[in-house]
């Protein structure tokens, strides 16, 4: 019996498990292979929907389903938090003391937000990286009747890189609809020297910021918040006053990965081979999704396109053959929709060698995003797209 243990029941873990069943069904049915998913909550959460709680009338209840309902019945689901991975013993220890041996390990453990890393973040700054925070941001926007809105990024890397720009565009659009635009200023703060990490996307977004009269502040790395003066300060020495502050919180990888010696502190991102998705120097440990240190978007889409490679490579190991076909190696494919506001969107599609060439924003790509969000449950986790 060979056991494949997958830590994490998000996009990457769930899809990898279901694809492994497709590839190894006979061996699983014969009791020769077992696929186990370990998830901290047992609930699969569609995180891209959080932004729409703040911006588009989405409800948290629509964004969560039992992980069990998304997994093939042949996959074993264990709900529990991981305490550590013992590579020498080839086992995973859960916080409740359970020990689970593995022959192949998949780390699909995502990222976590650490707003507490910046003093006063939690009482002063809004964000949309949890359902509850997004609902609070919605309330704050409802109560907003003009003033200065500052939108920024309080640490890199972070989930869904376009999201802060999208939120800026959507808020600008909303303020116009509500007749508040003339009474409001919008400021967008980027930690780097341009609006977005990828140059071609930056070239697309910068004129839109100008056209919407959203002031761009480059090299603004959030250092501190002064709640008395309602001021956000950058490491570079700038200060910006705000009436409403929206910041992407700092992100980290999981603590147990650092404690287990798999990921270096302080970030906790797993050193991952960009093509094989193996964790540095290990044949039997793979990583995908937000948990890796790859120079790609931390987004469900990345995990979506990485999972077939992890599944193929593990299946090849189980079957004693070389990885084969179009999923033998990961080429850095990512695809995501990008909201521009006013019912329009565009599409970012790229890989390691081909930067995105976003098409002119139109209604189709906005609708594409809405349809994708609604149909997600029936498509992505089950390997249908």
């Amino acid at each position: 019996m060979q056991r494949i243990v997958i830590l994490g029941g998000g996009v990457g873990g769930t899809l990898t498990a279901n694809l492994l069943v497709k590839k190894l069904r006979k061996r699983i049915d014969a009791g020769k292979v077992e696929v186990v998913v370990v998830d901290a909550t047992g609930q699969h959460v569609y995180q891209p929907g959080f932004m729409y709680i703040a911006m588009g009338g989405e409800r948290a209840a629509n964004l969560s389903r039992p992980e069990r309902s998304l997994l093939d019945k042949r996959v074993t689901l264990m709900v529990g938090k991981v305490a550590r991975v013992d590579e020498d013993a080839h086992h995973v220890e859960l916080e409740d003391g359970l020990i689970l041996g593995y022959d192949h390990l998949v780390l699909a453990t995502g990222s976590r937000i650490v707003p507490e890393a910046i003093e006063h973040f939690e009482e002063e700054a809004h964000h949309f990286y949890t359902a509850a925070a997004a609902a609070r941001l919605r309330s704050a926007l409802d109560a907003f009747d003009g003033g200065r809105i500052v939108i920024g990024i309080a640490g890199m890397p972070y989930k869904c890189p376009p999201a802060p720009l999208e939120v800026s565009f959507l808020i600008e659009s909303e303020l116009r609809d509500r007749g508040l635009r003339e009474k409001s200023e919008l400021h967008f703060c980027s930690p780097i020297g341009r609006a977005f990490t990828i140059e071609s996307v930056s070239e697309m977004a910068t004129p839109i910021l100008e056209q919407k009269d959203i002031e761009l502040h480059t090299f603004f790395n959030v250092e501190a918040i002064d709640p008395d003066r309602k001021m956000v300060m950058s490491l570079e020495g700038e200060e910006l006053p705000y009436d409403l502050l929206i910041l992407v919180p700092p992100h980290k990888g999981q603590q147990f990965l650092m404690d287990s010696g798999l990921a270096p502190a302080p970030g906790g991102w797993l050193p991952t081979d960009r093509h094989t998705l193996q964790v540095a120097g290990r044949d039997d440990v793979f990583a995908l999704g937000d948990a890796t240190d790859l120079p790609l978007s931390k987004a469900g889409s990345t995990a979506h396109f990485e999972a077939p490679v992890v599944a193929e490579r593990i299946a090849a190991r189980v079957l004693g053959r070389a990885p084969e076909g179009k999923h033998a190696d990961y080429e850095g494919k990512v695809m995501c929709f990008f909201e521009i506001g006013d019912g329009k969107g565009t599409l970012l599609q790229f890989d390691y060698d081909h930067p995105p060439k976003p098409p002119k924003p139109n209604q189709l790509w906005h609708l594409g995003k809405i349809v994708f969000n609604k149909t997600y449950w029936h498509t992505v986790p089950k390997g249908r797209v």
Binding site: I192, G193, T197, T218, F219, L235, G237, P295
Partner: protein, 81 residues
């Protein structure tokens, strides 16, 4: 007066990391450094030799040197504030 090479307090080897990785690693190191420390960043990303000097100027530090080595750039920065 003879010119001497700066004493490097800390080296950030960001080779293999892509934009904005080297800049972000320098920013992390600057946060942890003392005023007067001199940091060296190694970067194989071509954007770094443009982005990092721009950031150094904005952030009020001093660009001590920028040299192209074998397959990477070495950028030396002094923390001034």
């Amino acid at each position: 007066m003879t010119e001497t090479a700066p004493t490097i307090t800390r080296t950030v080897d960001a080779r293999g990391s892509y934009c904005p990785g080297p800049l972000m690693e320098l920013i992390r190191a600057i946060r942890e450094a003392q005023i007067g420390d001199t940091l060296a960043v190694y970067s194989s990303d071509k954007g770094s030799k443009v982005d990092i000097p721009k950031w150094v100027e904005k952030a009020g530090h001093r660009l001590v040197a920028l040299e192209t080595r074998d397959g990477y750039d070495e950028i030396i920065v002094e923390k001034l504030r």
